[in-house]
Structures are given as C-alpha cells and as structure tokens.
C-alpha cells in the first residue's frame, strides 16, 4: 500500500521534474501590484499551524521530489526557536507525549526527521495491558505470550513514545536540512483570511489571502489548515465541524517510577466508568500519565499535594472504582488512606499492572478538555484541512497525531499526482483523492473510539458482562482475533 513517497515520481515516469518555472510566480507578482494595498506575496502552499502535523507537512513537501520545488510558507503563533534549540535534561521528560505507530515512524524516516530523534529518549513498547475497571476483564497484547512468539521478521513494535517537543524538534531539524527552505513565520498570528482581488493580469478572487499580525500578506494557491480543533482556516472555508464535548478532561503528568527493568515495557490502560486511566512507558525509570476523567476530578487531582497525587494514581490501577471515587473526596491524606485500602484489596502484580510510581516531576501536572469533532469535509477550492482541524479524537487509543500524519501522507501523494498531471494543486480535482482516501478511515476510527468511551462509561447493567465477554474472547485469541489485531497494529 504505502509506496515510498520519495520515489513516486521516478517510479511512474521518465520525466524529470526540474526546479520549475514556478519561479515565474515571483516575477509575475510585481506586475499585478495594485495601487490600494501592497500586493500579497504568492505562495504555492501556505500552512497555518506549526504543530507536529503542520511541520510534518512542510517537511514532507520539501522532501518529496515532485513537490520540493513548491514555494511553501508555514505560519505559527508560538515561538519555534526554543523547540528548534531544544536541549533536554536527562532526568526530565515533558508531560505531553505522543505515541507514534510504525507507519508514522516510516514516514518520519522518509522525510529525514527520525534521524534527529534521540533514540535514548524514545521508548518503544510491544505489549499492552488493557482491563475493565469494573469486571477486571483483561486483554494482554504481548507477542511473547502468543503461540509461536514473535519471529525476527515481524516488527512487533506497537508504538514509540516520544515527547511532543522532541518530535517537533526533529521535524524542525529536518526542515532545516531541506535544499529548498520553506518560509517559516513564527511568533505571528493570522489576523484575517479573505479572498484576493482581480487585477489586470491575474484573477485571484478564489485565492485565499492570509494577512498576518505583522501586516504581511500571503496569497495561497493552496491554503492548509493544520491549525487545530478551532481551525480558523476551516471557519474561513465555511466547513462545519460536528461532534461533542465529552465533559471529560485529560490529566497528564510525568513520574519517576520504581525500577521496572525486570519487566518488559508495557502500556497500561484501565477503563474506569469516568474514563480510561493510562500509564505509558518512558525510557529508564520514568512513565507518563494520561487520565481521562470529569473536570471536577481533574481539578481535585491537580489540587492534591504531590505525595497524595502519586498515591491517587497508584490507587487508580489497584483499587476498586468505589474506593477511587471515595478518594476523590479527600482534600488531603490520600497517601495514608490508600495504604490501608490497598492492604485489604486483591490486585494483580506487575507486569499485569504498572510498577508503583514514586514521584511526580515538578510542573508536569496539566490537563486539557476532550472532544470528538469531525469536519463535514476536508477540502474546498484551494483549501485542505489536516490533523485536528479535520478531526479531533478521544486520546484513549493514541491515534490523534497518527491519523493527522496519515492525512499528510495522503495529501502529499494527491499533490504529487496533481503536479505530475499538470493540475492546479489548489483545484478540487487534485484534492479529491486525499479526501476520499482519508475521510472514511478517520470516520471509522473516530466512531470506534467514541463507542469505546460510551461502552466503558457504564458502571453496571447488562453491558458490563457483555463487554467483558467480548474482551475475554479477544484475550483468549479465539478465532485468531488477537493475533489478527496485533499484526494489524504492527503493520498499519
């Protein structure tokens, strides 16, 4: 399926696409300067948003042969310099981390970003422990426990955990390596977007023109919204985005943990009725928390003293939901309270549950609201949406960024085809394949994760044993279901 992006053009035709006559753009620009306002500078692609998805797009456009001649600008509100110069302390991991599935890593390798990722700060894992907080029904995704185990050929990595800032750093480095540099405009907000004007030579009435807070204007043959859930580009395009707030926030933090070198590195997720709580592995004795729960409970978690917060998180993987619910009422003394409750509760040992966390790193407690949103469409004339601007997903499956990067791959492929066939890269005929390739898979993923959220929201009732039965069937690998799921996850 996934052809090597960089080789697409050579594979299909003998025609070499040399640095193009698009340079003519630059000279054409002077000729239609209007008297009223300074004329906007013309770009082939203007990317709004310098998050990981926007950066991946800029790096991919520069790395793929057919698109490398395009004149690209990227606009980001924040300062990118600290990310570019990121130099981490060895005993600290940022709280925002992301799980990169193998296909995402393949793309990052192709575009030259992965070599800038410091492997000593990446934690891959090939096992997962997922269980039901009410019934205890459990799925273990562990290649070593499956019949036959793993062989040398199969890449059994489920995902690689990387800090967001680390990924962005690698992408910025890859962009810095490009022979033709995109114009990177940071610390600058998009003031407004409007359509261009008709002048003597050129009709830019369907070209989006982006005006920046500096007054600079950029006309975009293709305007890309990589600008997040509240995408201004999407609003400009008049594309509706539908969905709902989960009335849940995700609490994140980074911890130091007990020595876990005796166990394989696993990802752990326990489904509580208020939302899943997950511990994700980091290199050495570090781990990251992603706990989705109600805003009130998140506020409580943030208000606790560090030792009480640590006790609370340990309890979340050991105690019953009733106990955890009770602990949320305590303003202090959680550590003592959990001690005796855990002494009278039966819970599994590591590696079925995570080893105990010992300390929360200073300043790593943070939270953000959870939403499910899907844009009605990803494209309009001269506009495309990627990543969260197109779809916002519950983070429980760790698929948000991965599907955004899937969008980038597909979009660049569509642009490549368009350029090879002399199409205007802003035309809907160029963009349609991107939308038709991405919309349904994204919709299915969003729906699946949303259903999981609903399914595990029940504390009792008939769905609790039913969901547990389903989980048991998967876990016992009946019908080869588990092996299938795992090989799909590794391949995708």
């Amino acid at each position: 399926m996934r052809q090597t992006l960089l080789q697409l053009p050579t594979k299909h035709s003998g025609w070499a696409f040399h640095a193009s006559r698009l340079a003519q753009i630059a000279s054409a620009r002077r000729s239609f300067a209007s008297e009223a306002s300074p004329s906007p500078e013309i770009y082939d692609v203007v990317v709004v948003g310098g998050g990981p998805v926007g950066l991946t797009l800029a790096a991919s456009l520069g790395a793929a042969r057919t698109t490398s001649h395009l004149k690209v600008a990227l606009i980001e509100g924040m300062d990118l310099t600290p990310t570019r110069n990121w130099n981490p302390k060895p005993d600290y991991f940022a709280n925002r981390i992301v799980s990169l599935i193998p296909s995402t890593v393949r793309l990052l390798k192709e575009i030259g970003a992965w070599k800038h990722i410091r492997q000593d700060r990446v934690q891959s894992y090939d096992g997962m422990q997922v269980w039901d907080g009410m019934s205890g029904a459990r799925v273990e995704f562990d290649w070593n426990k499956l019949w036959g185990g793993k062989d040398e050929q199969t890449d059994t990595t489920i995902a690689h955990m990387v800090e967001n800032v680390h990924l962005s750093h690698g992408l910025l480095k890859a962009i810095g390596d490009l022979p033709i540099q995109p114009t990177m405009i940071d610390k600058t907000k998009v003031e407004r977007i409007e359509y261009g004007q008709m002048t003597g030579q050129v009709d830019m009435r369907d070209w989006p023109v982006v005006t920046l807070s500096t007054g600079q204007q950029l006309a975009a043959r293709l305007l890309i919204g990589a600008d997040g859930g509240n995408s201004p580009v999407r609003t400009f395009a008049g594309i509706e985005s539908r969905g709902w707030d989960y009335d849940r926030h995700s609490m994140v933090a980074t911890f130091r943990i007990e020595d876990d070198s005796a166990f394989p590195k696993f990802a752990y997720q326990r489904f509580l009725p208020s939302g899943p709580v997950a511990i994700l592995p980091l290199p050495g004795n570090y781990a990251n928390l992603a706990w989705s729960t109600t805003p009130e409970k998140v506020a409580h978690l943030k208000s606790l003293a560090p030792e009480d917060f640590v006790a609370m998180v340990n309890a979340a993987f050991r105690l019953s939901y009733t106990d955890i619910d009770y602990l949320h009422n305590l303003k202090s003394g959680v550590a003592d309270e959990t001690k005796w409750r855990e002494s009278v509760t039966k819970y599994p040992d590591p590696p079925q549950i995570p080893v105990r966390i010992t300390e929360v790193l200073d300043g790593t407690r943070a939270s953000f609201p959870l939403k499910m949103k899907h844009a009605d469409k990803y494209i309009a004339e001269r506009i495309a949406l990627v990543g969260d601007a197109a779809h916002t997903i519950h983070p429980m499956a760790g698929q948000g960024l991965n599907s955004g990067i899937g969008d980038v791959y597909s979009l660049v492929k569509s642009l490549t085809e368009g350029i090879r066939h002399g199409q205007d890269i802003g035309s809907s005929f160029t963009l349609e394949p991107f939308q038709s390739e991405r919309y349904l898979p994204n919709n299915a993923l969003l729906g699946f994760v949303d259903k999981l959220h609903t399914l595990y929201g029940f504390e009792s009732g008939p769905l609790v044993p039913l969901r547990s039965l389903g989980v048991e069937i998967i876990n016992r690998d009946w019908f080869g279901l588990k092996r299938f799921l795992m090989s799909q996850a590794a391949k995708s």
């Binding site: 003519q24 043959r221 090879r420 002399g422 205007d424 005929f429």
Partner: protein, 304 residues
Amino acid sequence: MRLQFLLRRARARARAPSSLNNAYARTIRIPPSQNARCISTSTFQNKPDARNQPTPGTHGAVDPDELSHFNALASTWWDAQGPSRLLHLMNPIRIDFTQHCLAMNGAPAAPDGLRVLDVGCGGGIFSESIARLPTTAHVVGLDPSEEILTVARAHAKKDPTLTGKLTYINSTIDDYRVEQQVDLLTLFEVVEHVPYPAAFLQSCMRHVRPGGWIVLSTIARTGSSWFTTKFVAEDLLRIVPRGTHDWYKYINEAEMRAFFEKQAGWGAQGMLSMGCLYVPGFGWKAVKGSEHIGNYFFGVRRDL
C-alpha cells in the same frame, strides 16, 4: 500498473512490422460501403457533399449546431460538479497517454520545451494542464467558439504561472495559418464533433513537425458506446446535456488506424491506442481491448 502494462502492449504493437499492423487492421476494418448501411453519413468524408453544405459564414470544419451546443456549456465548463466533470476526471489519463507517446522514441521529444497545439481546446482543461508541466514551452489552444474561449481565458487568469505560456486563439484549424510546426497536436474529444473528420485530420497534420505527434481521444461507434454516452449519460442520468454526442459521428479505432496507415509519412515510427473505461467511484481506468468498446486514445507520430 495496469496502465503501464497496456501501454507496453500498445507500444509493442506499434513497433511491430507495418505488415502486421496492416494485417491487424484489415481483419477488423469495416469497409465504407458496409458503414453506410448502419449510419446516415459516411464516417470519413473527405469533402462536404452537396446536401451537407455548411451554412455560409461558418467554417467547413465546424458544425453550427455543435457550436451553439458548446456555447451553452461554457458557463459550467470549470464547475467541478458540472456536466464537464467526467472530462476533468479524464484529464490525468490524457496526460499519461500523451507523455507515454512522447517518451516512446527515447530522447526527449523537444529538448527546448514542448510546443503544443490543442485543437478544440474548449474551456482549456487539457491546455492548462499541459502548459503547467515544466517540460512544456508553449501551448496554443484553438477553438471555434469565442464564447468558450472567453471562459478559458478567464480561467487561465486564475493561475499566474500560465501567463505567457498559454495562448487561446479563436479559429478553426483551416483558418489557423501559423508557419511554425508543433511537437504535439492534441484533439481530445474533438473528432466525434467534426462533420468531415478526414479533411479535418489532414488540416491538423500540416501543423505537426516531422517527429511530432498527434494525440487524440474519441469514442468508438458501438452498441455499448451508444448505451453509455447517449442513453445513460444524456437520457437516463443527464450527466451531460442532451445532444452533446452524435453517435453517428463516432469513429472506431480500426477506422482511425486505417486512416493514418494510408497517410504518407505518418505512423511508421509510432502508432498506438489505449482504451479506457469510466468506473463510477474509481474514475477512468485504462482497460485492455476497450478501444473497441468505447472511449479510446490514439497517438500517431509523423515520421522523421
């Protein structure tokens, strides 16, 4: 992949000794007399006869009914969901086939950049896209309808890269008197709208330099092409307005091949065809053998 395979087959056929080509053509060629039984006008008329004299003031190569029909289409030509949508979707395969023809003889067809004459360019779907390719030096789009060219020019203004690279001229091929011959002359979905295709093609041939190509696409005159282009597209689904096609004017691939085989100095170094089908939901696909069923591409090289 499939396209590559088909093109390879087509290339092999084109490179085969001409005797084989002739034998191949002979077996399926329908003699003109036989044609006359099923169609009202002989498909390949060289000269207008007395009954079909064009009305004064219009050009012999242009049917006034066709002209008014395409004028009516002008406003929706670039509408992505409009009646020309299928033509837009066909454009990438036009480019692929054209590129393949040009690449057939090894060395780049035109080292200084390709000069193209797109006859019957309409709103400029192909003219614009071939002009955007970095290997193209200049494109002239020719169309007898000023109204459509107004649309074409207005659309080309939306892309500054086309400035100076693409010129539209309101003319028939007969009246187009430019000495410089081109590397590529294209006739996409044109010959089926022309009253006297043989005379028309011969007018076109004058404009191609030795070693240059004529690349065209059209529709074979078969039961299935009547069903898809007349019944389904015009009557049933109304994808295109009624009267867009005149089935009796369609020319079969074998007839096209036979025509060019008779032209001195043409086709010895390259004559190939490729059938394609529209598959709803997937777009246009090259399908082996479908040149005898419906839409097909045809490329022929003027001998060096």
